[in-house]
Every structure is written in C-alpha cells, then in structure tokens.
C-alpha cells in the first residue's frame, strides 16, 4: 500500500464528507422550493488531485472533493425578463387607468351623454310646439341644468383622477428609491462576501428579486461591469443599474430620484401641484417606459402639445370637453359657428342664436349658457358679456367657459320665461329662433368631427380604442413574461423529484463510503491485532 498507512482511510472519509456536503446542498434546495427568486444550487464535485507514485506504478486516486457550490441561473434570461417587465409595467398601468376613465364617462348607458343631450333637445322640441306653456319652459330649464351638470361632473372627475395619479407617481418614485437603496446595500454585502473567492449565491438571488420588482417601475438597464482587477488577479466586478444612461445604482453608490411640485403648469387644464420627477442632483430624468411612464403619460399627455407626452391622457380629454362646452355654448347662445375653422367668426358665420331671440316676457339678449363664478353660482348674461359689443369681443368672452364651470344662466334660472323662442317681440307662437337652435343639433360644421353628438361619439371612441389597445398590449406582455419566467424556472427552479432522486443517490454513496470505512477499519484491526 503506497502513499502512507492511512491513505485508503482518508480517501474513504473524503467520500463521506463529499456525500454529506451534497446532501446539505440538497437539503438547502428542498427547503427553498417555494422561496421566490431562489435559484437551485449544485455542489461541484471533482476527483481530488491524484498522487504520483515514486516507483512508476501510475497515479493514485485521492478520492473526491467538493470544490464549490454553484448557483444555476441563466443571466441572459434574467435580463430578458427585466426588459419585458418594463413594457408590462407601462401597459398594465395605462390599461388600469383608462378603464377607470371609461367608467366615469359611463357610455353606452341610460345615463350617459347621449341620453342627457337627447333629453335636452327633446324638451326644446316640446317647447317648439307650445312655447307659451310655463310648465314646458320649466322642463327645458331643468334639462339644461342636467346637461351642464353632466359636463361639470365629468370635468371634476377627471381632475380628481389627475390628482390620484399624481399621488401614485410619488408612491412609485418612493418605491424606486427604496429598492435602489436596498440593492446598493446588497451590492456591498455581495462584494465583501465574494472577496474571499466565494460566490454569494443567496445574496445574489435576493438582489435579482429586487431588480425584478424595480424593472416593472421604470426603464432600467443592468450591467455587471469589470473595473480592473483585484489584487489576486480576478476581475473586479461592479453591479450597475442605469436609467436612460445615468446610473441609479453604481456599485455602492445610489443616486435617488425626487419629486418636485411644478410652479408653472405644463398644460392649462392641469390641476395645481403636479409633480415633476427628476434626479436628486437636479439632472433631467428621461423616462422611457415602465409603470412610472404609464402614470405620467396618462397624467400629462396632451398628444405632444407644448412639451406634454405624446399620448392621449387626461389633459387631452379635459381640453376636448372644454372645447365642446365652449363651442356648443357659443353656437347655442350667439349662433356663431366657425365653419372654416380659422378661429375668427366671419360675417357669414354669424347665425341666429338664443341671444337674438325674444322670451315670453319680452326679454332679449339673454344667453342661455353662462358659467359658474368662484362661489359656484351662475352668472347672468350681462356679467358674462361684460360690455362686449363686437363679434370678436363676444367670442373672447367665451374663453371663460369650460366644461367644469358651464351652467344655465342666472336669467334663465330665475325666470324660465326668458328662454328665447321668437324672433319678434310679443309673438308667443313665433318659434323661428327656436327652430334655428333645434337645427344646430345636426349642424355637421360645428366641429371638425361634425355635429355635437358626433364630437362626443368620436371622443368616446378614441378613449375606447386607446383603452382596448392598452389592455391587449398588457395581456401580450403578461403572456411573454410568463413564458420567460417559465424558462427561468426551467433552468433555476428546484424540482422536488430531482432533488429527492439525488438525495437517494448520495445516500447510497454515503452508505458505500461508510461501509468502506468499516471494512478498512476491520483491516487495520486485523493488522494491529496480529502484532
């Protein structure tokens, strides 16, 4: 027996240790079968370096040893998962918010815009058949109020939604900062642990999990960069996460994001106090995708007008509603319809409107629609017009009207006999002005989309299509993400059956090694006892 008296014994014991080490790795894997983000570990077992014999009879095997515990993970699949997760974050945020917006508009239903608008015009039709009847006039006033209430309500709801999304933006930024900080700390722990030529398996798993969560929120790029070499010749790797090129986490350093209330509004329809998101060091932040982008697009999007995101978000819909209220009120009140869309009312665009007509009590120049003042009280026609005399001056007064403040004027509210139907004073059966107003319902030149109902229909269709698109994209991304995750699981997931089979295998190895020890022990005993 060459190689020392107890050589064989040592080899046997090594076998025991190897089997034990493997079993403990298996135990660790089985324990963590349901741990999120866990990648299975594998003991790397090799044959120990053999000895050379001095008498030329070949090399002598020295048993087995476990040289490392490896983490089985495909880094490529991880980075694929992160890039798909970013898109999913954006679209699922958008689809959620757009669905909420649709519910607020409440179409098609029995209480949506088309029913309310139709009821208003139906009441005007009844008025055209009995213009002296005060009960009928009272109904017209009431339906008018219901109509303006609807517009007020939607506008206020959209503003509330904007505020809501604003709060969510802040929450997401806080979460990004918190995750970045945690990743920075983990970087430190991993680096320190790996200096001793180990692989910090479980810490890396934890870090990957945090990056998974971070990737849903904002568009990140993840690199492990080699910054020179360590004293012992191994590469010095730094873990870096960047957002559009600027580092969020760079090894131990974390640069945070911050929110700042805007002092000037981006869109005139915005509420006050919306947050801008930027780097804490005052640099501009370029957000390309992720949940944060979804929220910001919806909150600020006005199809790219004056620097807003190129998306149809809340400000766009508020702008459209404002435009509807303004244009419709101006056409109804004054008979002004800007056919050629040049923003100026040419003489031939000046038709017959409510203000040109006479009420049952001889009143004229009454505007049916005005706006609510700061105390939410309706303003009367005189205050609304504020001395405007020329067509251009009158047109300018309508800039005061928005969807959130349009209302039936104080004159009509106080006395429904001021509702104008006739084009001559004292002729109660004269409905020429009313007929001109009724005609406006079908005037397809009032808006570029067509008649008033076409405008709203187009608005709701756009919203429906955007929402449907966001839902489809989100579903797609979820499917892709699921598939990538499956692939990740396939590589890194713990299979109970596999581990148990391996466990049996190493149990046998252990038994064999133990038997070997017993046998060698018996040999020594026999040897010793013969002395």
């Amino acid at each position: 027996m060459s190689g020392g008296s107890f050589f064989g014994f040592n080899v046997a014991v090594r076998g025991l240790f190897t089997a034990q080490r493997n079993l403990s790795v298996i135990a660790h894997n089985l324990n963590n079968v349901n741990t999120p983000g866990f990648s299975r570990q594998q003991a790397i077992q090799t044959a120990a370096t053999p000895y050379y014999t001095t008498d030329g009879t070949g090399m002598v095997g020295a048993g087995s040893e476990v040289i490392a515990v490896k983490r089985i993970r495909d880094e490529y699949l991880d980075s694929k998962y992160w890039s798909e997760n970013i898109l999913k974050g954006e679209y699922s945020a958008k689809s959620e918010l757009l669905a909420e917006m649709e519910v607020r508009f409440g179409e098609p239903s029995d209480s949506g815009f088309s029913v309310i608008f139709n009821d208003f015009f139906a009441s005007l039709q009844e008025l055209s058949k009995d213009s002296g009847n005060e009960a009928v006039r009272s109904v017209v006033r009431q339906k008018g109020i219901t109509f303006t209430d609807y517009l007020n309500n939607i506008a206020v709801q959209l503003e509330k939604m904007q505020e809501d999304v604003n709060i969510r933006v802040r929450a997401v930024v806080d979460e990004i900062n918190s995750l970045a900080e945690q990743i920075g700390k983990l970087n430190q722990q991993i680096y320190t642990a790996e200096l001793g030529n180990n692989i910090a398996n479980d810490l890396r798993d934890r870090r990957t999990l945090l990056v998974d969560r971070l990737s849903e929120l904002i568009n990140i790029d993840v690199y492990e960069v080699e910054m020179g070499k360590l004293p012992d010749g191994r590469p010095n790797k730094h873990f870096v996460i960047t957002i559009s090129g600027k580092p969020l986490v760079d090894h131990f350093t974390v640069s945070k994001l911050t929110v700042e209330k805007r002092t000037t509004k981006l869109n005139e329809e915005d509420i006050d106090g919306l947050y801008d998101v930027r780097w804490e060091d005052r640099n501009d932040l370029v957000i390309k995708s992720g949940k944060l982008k979804g929220y910001l697009d919806i909150r600020d999007g006005k199809q790219g007008q004056n620097g807003s995101p190129n998306y149809t978000g809340i400000p766009h819909y508020i702008q459209m509603l404002d435009r509807f209220a303004r244009t419709f009120a101006m056409a109804f009140n004054e008979g002004y319809i800007d056919v050629n869309g040049d923003g100026v009312i040419d003489p031939q665009e000046d038709g017959t409107g409510h203000a040109d007509g006479f009420g049952a009590n001889g009143s004229t120049g009454v505007r049916f629609f005005t706006f609510l003042d700061d105390t939410r009280e309706p303003v009367d026609s005189a205050t609304f017009m504020d001395g405007a005399a020329t067509v251009d001056e009158i047109v300018k007064r309508y800039e005061n009207i928005r969807a959130r403040n349009i209302t039936v004027s104080k004159d009509v509210n106080d006395n429904c006999n001021t509702i104008a139907t006739s084009d001559t004073d004292g002729e109660i059966g004269n409905i020429r002005v009313l007929n001109a107003i009724l005609d406006m319902r079908h005037n397809s030149q009032m808006f570029s989309d067509g008649a008033p109902e076409d405008f709203m229909k187009s608005l709701i269709s756009t919203m429906g299509i955007d929402s449907q698109q966001a839902v489809l994209y989100a579903k797609n991304q979820e499917a892709i993400l699921h598939q990538v995750d499956n692939a990740r699981q396939s590589v890194a997931g713990v299979s109970i059956d596999e581990e148990l089979a391996n466990m049996v295998r190493f149990q046998h190895a252990y038994n064999a090694a133990a038997k070997l020890i017993v046998t060698i022990g018996e040999i020594y005993e026999m040897l010793l006892n013969s002395v």
Partner: protein
C-alpha cells in the same frame, strides 16, 4: 426541457385564471344582456350604439311632433268645416231673400238670422287649440277678431297677422311642416290682417265686410244688392274650400310621415338591438362551454400537481 413542480403549478394557476376571466365575461354578458359594458370591450360596437340610440330617440320625438301637428290640423279642419256650413246657410238665406216674394217682416227675420251667423263666424275665428288661437299666426295668445258685441269695432281685426307667420313643426331632420292657417288667408282673401289701418274699413276682414254689406242691404230692402253679394259669398265659400283642401293635403302628408317614421323606428330599434344585445342562447352555450373547460382543467391540474417522489420512497 426541464420541468419543475413549481412550473406545473404556476402554469395551472395561469390557465385556470384565463379560464375564469372568460367565464366572468360571459356571465356578465348574460346578466346585462349586452355585449359590451364599456367602450373598450368593443369600440366599434360602442360607437354604433351611441349613434343608433340617438337615431331612435329622435325618431320617437318626430313621431310625437307629427301626432301633435295632426291634432292641431284636426281642430283647424273642424273650424273650417263649420265656417263653410255657416257660409252655405247664409247663401241659402240670401237666395231666399232675393226672390222678391218676401214681406218686409220676412226680410227682417232673415236679417236677424244673418246677424247671428255673422256672430258665429267671429266666434269661430277665435277657435283655440289647447289655449292657443289657431288663426292668429304667431300671436297665439291673442284673438284674431274683436268679439265684443257692444264695441263699435266688433268684427274687426284685433291684431296684425302678416303672411309669413307660419308655425313650423319639425317632423324629420331638417324637414318642417306648416301647421296653421293664417287669419288673413281665411278672412281677408289672402291679404295680411291689419288691425289699425289708415281708413276705418281697412281693419275689417273682407269676409266680415261682405256680411256687413249684406245686413245693410237686407235692412234697406235692397234686393239687387243682395243678388250682387251672392258673387262675393261664392268667392268666400270657394276660398274656404281651397283652404280645407290644403289642410287635407297636409293631414295626408302627416299620415304618410307617421307611417314611415313608425317603420323607421322598428328598423332602427332592431339594428340597435342586433348591435349591442347579446344572443342569449349563444352566451349561455359559451358559458357552459367554459364551465366544462374549467372543470376539466381543475381535475387535470389536481392529478398532476399532487404526487411527488416523496409519496413513493419507502
């Protein structure tokens, strides 16, 4: 490809979730009877639904307008018929008076009746439909002729009614129908009604003028004049008949319009339903289908996720 137990479970959960998603959709379709609950479910259907609803409501309104127009015209027709009857009676009396065989006292009696007939005409001129004077053009709150018998202006025009005071009801998109007969057309041979002309006789309607002349002639026993006036009265009777024919024609038009609108209503309502209502039978079959798939996936899933090697090792 390596499959782990967790992958099996995750996949099963995901498929069951998709299944439940579809079941929930069919279930809400059955509960509401509508294909869509918000525009994004199907934007095209939603857009069409909005348009069709508007169309249906408008047609319903036009039908109401047509019915109201018909009532007004019916009242007008009745009034014209009465006026025609009165004029016929007057003509009979004129024939009787002009035959020269009456005693002065008989002529007086005829004159008394003519005076009564004149009062009737004046009453009829102020006919109302739901508190509105039908011959007064736009001034429906005012009487056409002064009907105060004690006044020296008895029978004169109370108000001005020009020839363009036509009350129009809308019975289709941009389609209007004139529903009234103007006082001037009926009583003033197509000339506008003027309430205070430059000379006293200007504000007397031509028809009433004829009556006044007849009464004067009967009073004076001027039978030749009575004969002359027969011509005028014939013209008056023709005028009333002409107006009645016009009213009749308009009533016909309204009937046809109403019929067409009712048909349109049925068509549009059917389209609206086809567009947004769900086919109940189809939806129920879909739901049952999904339920079956759901059960199958639950059963299948349970079979494969339960056992592991642990169950089989000693």
């Amino acid at each position: 490809m390596r499959i782990t137990n967790n992958m099996l479970i995750n996949n099963m959960i995901r498929h069951i979730n998709n299944n439940l998603d579809r079941m929930s959709l069919y279930q809400s379709q059955i509960a509401t009877g509508k294909k869509i609950s918000k525009p994004s479910d199907d934007p095209i259907v939603a857009s069409r639904a909005l348009k069709l609803r508007t169309d249906v409501s408008e047609i319903k309104q036009y039908i109401r307008n047509v019915q109201d127009a018909q009532s007004w015209l019916d009242t007008t027709e009745t009034a014209l018929a009465h006026i025609g009857d009165v004029l016929q009676r007057t003509r009979e009396l004129m024939l009787e008076a002009a035959n020269g065989t009456n005693t002065p006292s008989d002529t007086q009696k005829i004159k008394e009746e003519v005076v009564e007939l004149k009062k009737q005409i004046i009453q009829l001129s102020n006919t109302t439909y739901a508190d509105r004077h039908i011959f007064s053009g736009f001034k429906t709150d005012k009487k056409l002729l002064i009907d105060d018998e004690t006044s020296p202006d008895f029978g004169k025009f109370n108000i001005d009614v020009s020839m363009d005071e036509n009350i129009q009801y809308e019975i289709g998109v941009g389609i209007f129908i004139r529903i009234n007969v103007l006082g001037g057309d009926l009583f003033n041979m197509g000339q506008p009604a003027v309430s205070n002309g430059t000379s006293p006789d200007d504000s007397t309607p031509v028809l009433i003028q004829h009556f006044n002349e007849l009464i004067a002639a009967l009073d004076a026993g001027d039978l030749e004049k009575v004969n002359e006036l027969l011509n005028s009265f014939d013209k008056d009777i023709d005028n009333v008949l002409k107006l009645r024919a016009d009213v009749g024609a308009r009533t016909n038009r309204l009937e046809l319009t109403e019929y067409r609108l009712e048909t349109d209503l049925i068509n549009f309502a059917e389209q609206m339903s086809k567009n947004e209502d769900v086919d109940m039978a189809q939806a129920i079959i879909n739901l049952r289908n999904e339920e079956n798939v759901y059960r199958a996936s639950l059963a299948g899933g349970a079979q494969i996720i339960m056992p592991t090697l642990v169950d089989f090792l000693r």
